[in-house]
Amino acid sequence: MELPTIPYNSSEYIETDTGNKVSRKSVICGGQNIILAGKTIIQTGCVIRGDLRRAGAGHAVAIAIGRYCLLGQKSVIRPPHKTLKGVFGYFPMKIGDNVMIGENSIVEAASIGSFVQIGKNCIIGRFAIIKDCCRIEDNTIIAPNIIVPSFSVYSGNPGTFSGELPECTQEMYEARSKEFYTKFTPQ
């Protein structure tokens, strides 16, 4: 079944020069520490914590998000933290291209590759590394420090390997995220 057009209230969203569509009803902290590569949709109720960055003066990128990403409603993107040699600190998070994060998911991963789909109500633990071409099923809890290798499906609590993705995952997910961006149009 083809995705229907997803109309949005044009007064709610800000469209940037690079094609990002950011909801005014989302909470974006420390915007100067967040990089959006373009054509990324940030939906209503998202929280992006760019203010949680590595201690120290100067400019530091806390969250880098690639092209054609979707941050679903009420999802939370928060850089991971840990205490290293007695010093508490936050670490930067990197999200690749064509990543779709479902509603109500909380992401504290260290890095998420490209062509990744994260379902609804997921929790991606601290310093988890999700490689390219992966799917995290709905309601999955990826424990901290987990590495999700390419072409795998993870599900459950704690998230464990539950299946392999086909070889054309990259094209499939790329098409899906682009289709979503195309269909996400103002009313």
Binding site: K131, E167, Q187
Partner: protein, 636 residues
């Protein structure tokens, strides 16, 4: 027969590896409503609604209501395409060849030579929690380290003043008395299980798999294995002394044991061969006293003479019969387990079946006896066509690479079919239009022909393709960047008012339009806006233009045409209420090959039909799809 539970609409592609149903009688397989049903053997029809040909009998479709359908059909993304056989290939009709092994946790590539020795598990630092299967992390006990340091310092203070030799000896004796400090242990960051519960602590934080070998070898099954091995080796020694005048053992169970335990040294191999020969002759002697492990003893006779002795066991009894094997460890019988479990106060200590499954050595009912397991390896696999051995998938060797050296997936060869417009509910006896979109992945314009079978098992609807033959534009990378460059107007239709237009009066048109407006329910709250894809709110759609579009829908059956996509209208008239209205459709696509282009040189050699023009080659392929349109209810 089990019937498919109600599912969301889908388009599934049939893989020809599973033979389709028995041939139908030829007169049954006639297309309805004058639709062209073009089979791949025929040349593609030029006229759209004239020619009616029977589908080849071998291609009669499956029963769409049976559960078997889901086993015979696949979503497009799971299929491959062999461009040598020009056939779709599914996971069942390809060979898998392992390209490389890697650990999913540390992503370290394991050389295939050491995979077997490491029992298909990671030989580095990767363990999984016996309780929740999360991967364990190495944690150091800081308190233990500081305590050990303090103790060391104090000891060096005490020994201060002695000569160096006595100092070293004193400290070494102290260390020996206390044993080496093992401050490292494994901890699960998810369920807080830690390996100190089972007494696993380590001196170093690296190479834990090597360090755990001590624990693993201390396990009963490992000990039993070694004991068994010793026993057999002793037997063999005795046997070689007796110089092959072998004592005859029962053999039967012993072979199974030996085989199962994989004792691969050459004397064992000779025993095995002799036993195998004895079995082949059907003269294996019946079993003798059985031991606790349930095994008899293999006859250790390294020469071929022993075969003779096996065949006539009563004659060659020169030696004493070997001692029966005494097991070190016996598996507790069921009453013992039951009584053990009955003393438990809470069920938390009992393992569940999935936990026991992950304990190959000691699948104990008590969770406390479970050990962390090394993480199992995963593999990257190349795939080959079973018919022609043509390689379809070849991944990169490296564990982290996601690229493929060769990737022949069906998605890049055959048209992708998606359901665009579909009524939420179908009603019996009414004609509902639905829209299918065909996306062409080829760099050439493709002609698609749809054929609807007339008769098939459990037929629940009559399908009419308003556009049985249509063209889909060539795929072009540029279109991806220019979504508005679409030609909504059909270039084929603009110039001509075909004969199809003439037979239709305005009344017919209005009837059809009224029907479409009432039945084409989009189901996602957008209302019945009949404006195509990329122009949901286009102001320049005048009523006249819109009317022309409706007319085109009705007369041409082409809903929308855009870049390499064409959406066509079909009509379904369900005959009975069903949960899933699944309809088979034979899709034939053909395109012209240009033999002169450089990169297509190889393709022009493959089987292709010569078209009327001698310099152009036409290639034609066909496949079955099964489209689930959704629920059918009785119209009340």
């Amino acid at each position: 027969m089990p019937v498919l539970a109600a599912t969301a609409p889908f388009v599934q592609y049939h893989c020809p590896c599973v033979p389709l149903q028995k041939p139908l009688p030829a007169d049954d397989a006639e297309a309805p409503h004058g639709d062209s049903s073009d089979c791949p053997d025929n040349s593609s029809t030029q006229d759209e609604r004239d020619e009616v040909t029977d589908p080849t009998p071998a291609q009669a479709p499956l029963d769409p209501q049976s559960m078997a359908l889901l086993h015979h059909t696949h979503p497009l993304c799971n299929l491959y395409f062999c461009d040598d056989c020009l056939q779709v290939r599914c996971g069942r009709c390809v060979f898998d060849e392992i390209t490389s092994y890697f650990c999913p946790n540390c992503l370290f590539e394991v050389p295939s030579a050491s995979v077997k020795a490491e029992k298909n598990r990671c030989a580095r630092n990767c363990f999984e929690c016996p309780t929740c299967f999360h991967s364990l992390s190495v944690v150091e006990d800081q308190a233990l380290i500081t305590k050990a340091k303090a103790a060391q310092e104090s000891s060096s203070h005490d020994d201060h003043g002695d000569d160096s030799a006595s100092l070293s000896s004193a400290s070494s004796t102290k260390a020996a008395a206390k044993g080496p400090i093992k401050p490292y242990y494994l901890q699960c960051s998810f369920c807080r299980w830690n390996s100190r519960e089972i007494g696993w602590t380590f001196e170093k934080s690296t190479g834990l798999a090597g360090q755990t070998q001590a624990f693993e070898s201390a396990q009963q099954p490992a000990k039993e294995f070694d004991h068994l091995r010793q026993h057999f080796e002793a037997l063999m020694r005795a046997n070689s002394h007796a110089n092959a005048t072998a004592a005859v053992g029962p053999g039967g169970v012993g072979t199974g044991l030996t085989l199962g335990l994989g004792l691969g040294s050459s004397p064992h191999a000779s025993i095995l061969s002799s036993l195998r020969q004895s079995f082949a002759l059907g003269k294996a002697t019946p079993g003798s006293p059985r031991t606790a492990v349930g095994g008899g003893l293999a006859s250790p006779s390294p020469s071929l003479r022993s075969v003779g002795s096996l065949l006539s066991p009563s004659k060659d009894h020169t030696n004493d019969p070997p001692e029966p094997y005494q097991a070190l460890h016996t598996v507790p019988d069921d009453p013992a387990i039951v009584s053990q479990l009955m003393t438990l106060e809470s069920s938390d200590a009992v393992s569940c079946s999935s936990q026991r499954q992950r304990q190959p050595q000691t699948p104990s009912y008590l969770l406390a006896q479970h050990l962390p397991q090394r993480v199992g390896l995963r593999s990257k696999r190349a795939k080959r066509c079973r018919e022609c051995r043509h390689i379809l998938i070849k991944p990169e060797q490296k564990a982290q690479a996601t690229r493929f050296k060769i990737k022949l997936v069906a998605m890049n060869f055959i048209p992708t079919i998606t359901i665009v417009r579909n009524p939420t509910v179908y009603k019996v006896g009414r004609t509902h239009p639905f829209v299918l979109r065909f996306t062409n992945p080829q760099y050439r314009e493709t002609r698609i022909t749809l054929a609807v079978p007339v008769a098939y098992p459990n037929k629940s609807a009559t399908i009419t393709a308003l556009a049985p033959t249509f063209k889909v534009g060539a795929y072009n990378d540029i279109w991806e960047y220019d979504p508005d460059a679409s030609a909504d107007e059909d270039p084929e239709d603009l110039g001509r008012s075909g004969p199809a237009d003439e037979g239709i009066g305005d009344d017919d048109f209005d009837d059809w339009l009224a029907q479409i407006d009432t039945t084409l329910d989009y189901g996602y709250g957008c209302g019945p806006q009949l404006v195509p894809k990329y122009h949901p709110a286009r102001a320049d759609v005048t009523p006249d233009k819109q009317r022309r579009r409706y007319r085109r829908w009705l007369t041409r059956g082409v809903y929308e045409r855009h870049a390499n996509e064409t959406a066509v209208i079909l009509e379904a008239t369900p005959g009975q209420p069903v949960d899933n209205l699944i309809v088979p459709l034979l899709v034939t696509f053909s395109y012209h090959l240009e033999p002169l282009t450089d990169d297509e040189g190889s393709e022009s050699e493959s089987p292709a039909k010569p078209s009327p023009e001698p310099h152009q080659l036409e290639r034609e392929c066909s496949f079955w799809v099964y489209i689930n349109l959704g629920r059918v209810v009785t119209d009340v």
